[in-house]
């Protein structure tokens, strides 16, 4: 095993078991200034994405011959693009596409990576060695590069993009989950459980997992924001969502020829990405503060 940790591991916070009388986790996140702003931003984006899902507003694919590259107006709130398509509808659908890839990829990475990390940390031995080596190898690839090569190998489509991003982020979850397990494994309550003859699965799921979930939760928020950036970047390069389907990265790529005259073609999709990334980072900060009682406001 190499000894350096990935930058992501800087997000690791100590496991903090919830004590009686403390407010619930969502309350504590909302009580944190950053957490609250983050939840509001992401909540707003989620609502917009849902609105596009139930086809509230205009059709993102419909081309209006009369109004190409028209500025924001009553008919088209955020203007139209070079084919006269409604930008508001396309941004909303793009947000949905981004969130879908981000959620699916991070869910896969969290479940697979988290489970592998917890198991290998808890079991040690051969499993730990094999998982450790695999993690090292995957860490040897810069994230963008690995995602790109995987998308090229798997082919286009949102699910393939999600799988590629999941593979990139799985090793991060392995390490984030494994670290605290090594400590928790030796803690008195786990030892006591062993002495009492609890089964391995009971020890693992009832005693170890709840106490290592804090760093994993923080990592989920951060990974979601990277996943959104990666998806947008892949689409921008023409390797993610394919036209005419709306995607935030693709919209920015298309706007290149019309900016700064038709500024709305670039501003709104770019803003959606930035809001998503800032919101998720703030939620990550809020989670970290809420989960770590020792966090001092710096």
């Amino acid at each position: 095993m190499t000894q350096e940790m990935p930058p992501a591991a800087a997000a690791v916070v100590p496991a903090a078991p919830r004590t009686a009388g403390q407010p619930s986790l969502p309350r504590r996140i909302l009580a944190d200034r950053n957490g609250l702003i983050g939840v509001v931003l992401i909540g707003a984006l989620a609502l917009i994405a849902l609105a596009s899902l139930v086809h509230l507003g205009q059709d993102p694919l419909a081309q209006h011959q009369s109004g190409q590259l028209a500025g924001p107006s009553g008919a088209h709130w955020l203007g139209t693009d070079q084919f006269g398509r409604d930008i508001a509808a396309r941004v909303a659908a793009g947000i949905f596409a981004s969130l879908r890839v981000a959620l699916v990829s991070v869910a896969l990475a969290t479940v697979i990576g988290g489970l592998l990390g917890v198991l290998s940390g808890f079991a040690g031995g051969i499993l730990d060695a094999v998982v450790g080596r695999l993690t090292d190898v995957l860490f040897a690839f810069p994230a963008t590069l690995l995602a790109l090569a995987l998308v090229a190998a798997l082919g286009h489509g949102w699910f393939n993009t999600a799988v590629a991003i999941a593979v990139v982020y799985t090793p991060i979850f392995v390490r984030v989950a494994r670290g605290p397990v090594l400590t928790v494994r030796e803690s008195e309550y786990v030892r006591a459980g062993r002495v009492l003859g609890f089964s391995r699965s009971r020890l693992l799921f009832r005693h170890v997992l709840p106490n290592v979930s804090a760093p994993i939760a923080v990592q989920v928020a951060l990974a979601l924001s990277w996943a959104i950036l990666t998806e947008a970047g892949l689409s921008f390069l023409g390797l993610g969502t394919q036209p005419p389907n709306p995607s935030l990265g693709l919209m920015v790529a298309d706007s290149r020829n019309f900016f700064p005259d038709a500024w709305w073609t670039l501003l709104f999709p770019a803003l959606a990405v930035v809001v998503a990334v800032v919101g998720l980072n703030l939620i990550g900060d809020g989670l970290r503060n809420a989960l770590d009682p020792r966090t001092v406001r710096r």
Partner: protein
């Protein structure tokens, strides 16, 4: 640093690199279409079974995957990365042309980002929780959240409309051809890369500086009556330097594989663009070569960072022995 430790790390690194080679080989075998369809395009459909078999033999595709891997890996060890199917040029030549562009871009971005990041990180940390800290942190978060492709797109469009200068038009001027011409081409892409980098360095500096500022030796230094500037630079920054150097090193490794979007937008013939072209033209050899090189460089850079870390921090060095 003990020799044993070094040997262990080098062996570990070799193992990782072998794993990298296996992953690259396996992933790229999964790419749609094979070398023959990539080479001949739609004409591949007109081949007779014998012609196809002959071609498969010629390209070594009829051997078992394991044999293919060892053939390929043996070539790697001899510095043979294969030949681009598209152009017939050896991949090592293509990489040789592209690598300096990417390295220059990464170095330039570092030169711009590191001083800015360190300076603003110190500024933010000098009065934590204050208005200055809040605004620097806000700008930093924005710098991290602004996608590179947005910054790059806006920069290119702005240069074109404001100065009628199109950085992506025209041919690439190498450092050897013209120093000023090259710098003019590289400056804007490097600036774009520096945005996110400076934000990362800023955040690392801020937290490392705060950590160091809270330690006993700083209180002692202040108690001795040293000037504030001396305390800040000689005592705090000096000790905060280790995490900063580590972060900068890791970021440099990332940059080697992360200049792709900027190279694409600014039309610079670096590694990222070579890779992207390879993917779009299904040119296996190029994709394999570039991916391997970047991953290997990344592993080596991380190893070097780890060594520097140990040299900088005497506490991690000893293990009972002298270096």
């Amino acid at each position: 640093m003990s020799l044993r430790y070094l040997a262990g790390r080098v062996a570990g690194m070799a193992g990782t690199l072998l794993g990298v080679a296996v992953v690259v080989f396996v992933v790229l075998r999964a790419l749609p279409g094979d070398t023959i369809t990539a080479k001949l395009g739609t004409q591949a459909a007109t081949l007779t079974a014998e012609q196809r078999a002959a071609l498969r033999h010629f390209y070594g595709l009829d051997a078992s995957p394991v044999t293919q891997f060892f053939r390929w890996f043996g070539g790697l060890l001899r510095g043979d990365l294969g030949v681009s199917i598209d152009t017939g040029v050896p991949v090592t030549h293509l990489i040789g042309d592209a690598l300096p562009v990417t390295v220059e871009l990464a170095v330039l971005a570092m030169v711009i980002a590191v001083p800015i990041g360190v300076l603003f990180g110190m500024l933010a940390a000098s009065r934590p929780g204050g208005a200055r800290d809040f605004s620097v942190q806000g700008v930093g978060l924005l710098g991290l959240a602004l996608p590179e492709f947005v910054v790059a797109t806006v920069t290119v469009a702005w240069l074109a409309s404001a100065f009628a200068y199109s950085p992506s038009a025209g041919t690439y001027v190498s450092l050897g051809d013209s120093f000023s011409g090259n710098l003019r081409q590289m400056l804007y892409p490097a600036l774009v890369l520096a945005v996110g980098l400076a934000a990362t360095v800023m955040r690392t500096t801020r937290s490392a500086y705060l950590e160091a500022a809270g330690s006993d030796f700083v209180r002692t230094a202040r108690g001795k009556g040293l000037t504030e500037a001396r305390v800040r630079f000689r005592h705090i920054l000096h000790n905060a330097g280790i995490p900063i150097v580590t972060m900068v090193g890791i970021q440099f490794g990332y940059l080697l594989g992360g200049t792709l979007i900027v190279e694409q937008v600014f039309a610079l013939p670096g590694l990222g663009r070579l890779l992207l072209d390879g993917i779009l033209h299904q040119d296996y050899a190029i994709v394999q070569g570039v991916t391997l090189l970047v991953a290997a460089a990344f592993v080596v850079v991380n190893f070097a960072v780890d060594l520097v870390y140990r040299l900088l921090d005497p506490r991690t060095r000893s293990e009972g022995r002298r270096a």
